[in-house]
Amino acid sequence: MGCRHLEEVYELFLLGALSEQGSLELREHLARGCPHCLARIREAVETVYLLSLFSKPARPNPRVKAELLRRLHKK
């Protein structure tokens, strides 16, 4: 398949931690529609998801929701 060397970098790519050159290579490869890498990138998104949830939940001020709904209601 010629993309096994990318196996270790999907998560770092998604996190924006990969070097510019490494990101470019992965983007070009994904643009060619590699099914193996598409499956792995989905899996890597799951890892980014679980890492991001280390932050504890916090409740925004109720006016944020009120303002949001008001803005949407106008649309």
Binding site: L15, S23, L53, A58, N61, E67, L69
Partner: protein, 244 residues
Amino acid sequence: MNEELSAKELLARVGRHDLAALSELYDRFAPRVFGLITYILAFRDEAEEIVQEVFLRLWRESKRLDQESSSVAAWLIVTSREAALERLRTQRSRKLRPDAPREGGAEEKWPDANPRSAKPLVAASLSSRAVSKPSDPRTRAGRPGPVGPAKAPATVRVPPAWLPRTGEIELIDERLGLLHKVIEQLSKSQRQGLELAVFGGLSEEGIAAELGEPLGKVRTGLRAAVAFVRHRRRAILGTWAADI
């Protein structure tokens, strides 16, 4: 009915511009979204602004997300992180301009408004408090020096096709506590590096500069850390496959 399935139904309704459905999704996910954004950004009002932006985007993109059967929970978290880091990078680049206030002036705005110092959010889970405080990605943001725009690449936008399906995220949510214990098994330096990547939006080069460590060491450590998390996640979720 489990939460994620009903979130899927709500997403379909939001796709038909059902305001009550969006309101329900907001109630369910806003605390997670806001918790993540306030961990990345120092100021609460900015975080609240981004929460609104994220849910406005959900309103616009819900139909497409529903058509792709993408997990709304995953979309919200990934999009919130992207949006908060974009704001953080804008702040960094603004402060790095020659006419911007230099270190002392710019830095003074951060510590008191820093939610970590006021109300620690991540605590010892991803990186120990004593370790993470001096290298807080936000308090370093205004400093001219190693962490500059060239070392902070643009955030990667995740298209719906890359998002996990509802069931996959549901499984992660069920076992989140166990999955987070995996991170605690990483070495201190690996956790630090990972935290700077996840919540600081720094590249490998930026992390090396931030930690004052050789790039090769940081690169190796980060790759080992994500490989460890990936392998343990597969084992915990039972998604290990022979070709992986």
